[in-house]
């Protein structure tokens, strides 16, 4: 299974749609402080089903929708899609799998797999056995080393269960 592409629009500082192509190997994301690099990491975490707004550095749910700037008005929706090339790892019969998450300022949120609506549970289930599940260590946020090492022994168990 390969990650092919990320599209984000209205999510945090992405007032204009951004598209990133991914390839096998190592992709580095660089840029000045405050330019939006960690917002990309947050977008990936969010579309994979992250529900804790604090992990996404917000205080309330709508903090992830573009709040406006000195020249732009706030937006009403945040949308992120991840495009996968499915070799059978994902339990679906499609070659290309697109996972989309959308949040409206009204609080309504929706998930889609290949354009058809689904529930958060379906997303969690789809990724459960891929190593990308909720307890996995595959996304390490900025400055999180201390919280990983300072976690209690029982809390670390979830990493192992996820892997087993």
């Amino acid at each position: 299974m390969q990650l092919k592409r990320l599209e984000a629009y209205g999510f945090k500082s992405f007032a204009d749609k951004i598209e990133i192509e991914f390839h096998p190997g190592i992709t580095a994301i660089v840029g000045p402080n405050g330019s939006g690099k960690s917002n990309i990491t947050d977008a990936i975490r969010w579309v994979l089903g992250e529900q804790n707004i604090r992990t996404l550095r917000g205080a309330k749910t709508e903090d992830i929708i573009f709040a406006g700037s000195s020249t732009r008005k706030q937006l009403g929706v945040a949308e992120v899609s991840l495009f996968f090339d499915n070799d059978g790892t994902l339990p679906l019969d499609y070659r290309e799998v697109v996972v989309t998450r959308r949040l409206y300022r009204s609080g309504e949120s929706e998930f889609q797999i290949n354009g058809s609506r689904c529930r958060l549970k379906d997303i969690h289930q789809m990724f459960a056995d891929t190593g990308l599940g909720h307890g996995s260590m595959s996304i390490i946020g900025q400055n999180r080393i201390d919280s990983i090492l300072n976690s209690k022994p029982e809390e670390r168990r979830v990493f192992f269960e996820e892997a087993a």
């Binding site: 990309i40 946020g141 670390r156 192992f160």
Partner: protein, 155 residues
Amino acid sequence: MTKEFKKAFADIQAYFQESFAALFGGGNAELSLSGESVLEAGIEISVQPPDKKRQNLSVLSGGERTLTVIALLFAFLRYRPSPFSVFDEIDAPLDDANIARFGKFLKEYAKHTQFIVVTHRRGTMEQADYLYGVTMEDAGVSRLVSVRLDTAGGE
């Protein structure tokens, strides 16, 4: 469940020791189960950099703590490669020599896992196959630009 968990634990423990020794140039790294039953046991981490006494994790330096977590991450990836992994400035506390070691690990494991690394360090940028720049020239709005290594800056 218990049998599978034990097998996974034993393998990850062995890979953790190997990654740790490769990153630190020696030393010991151990995982152990705390508590009575395997079903509820917690995981204890105990490491010993080369030539040093075995000490509490809190005594390790900032860079040593980061390398310990990196060793654990690669142990998991070795046990079960995940399709992709995202590291957000995990290399910030590392000195140049350890940046180079981290880069070597990325290169090696990139055969089975796609890595997406956010970084300000040139040593890590140099290991990348693809480089994306993010800027905010337009007030408060992020934009993607294509970047070549020689103009990426970074130290």
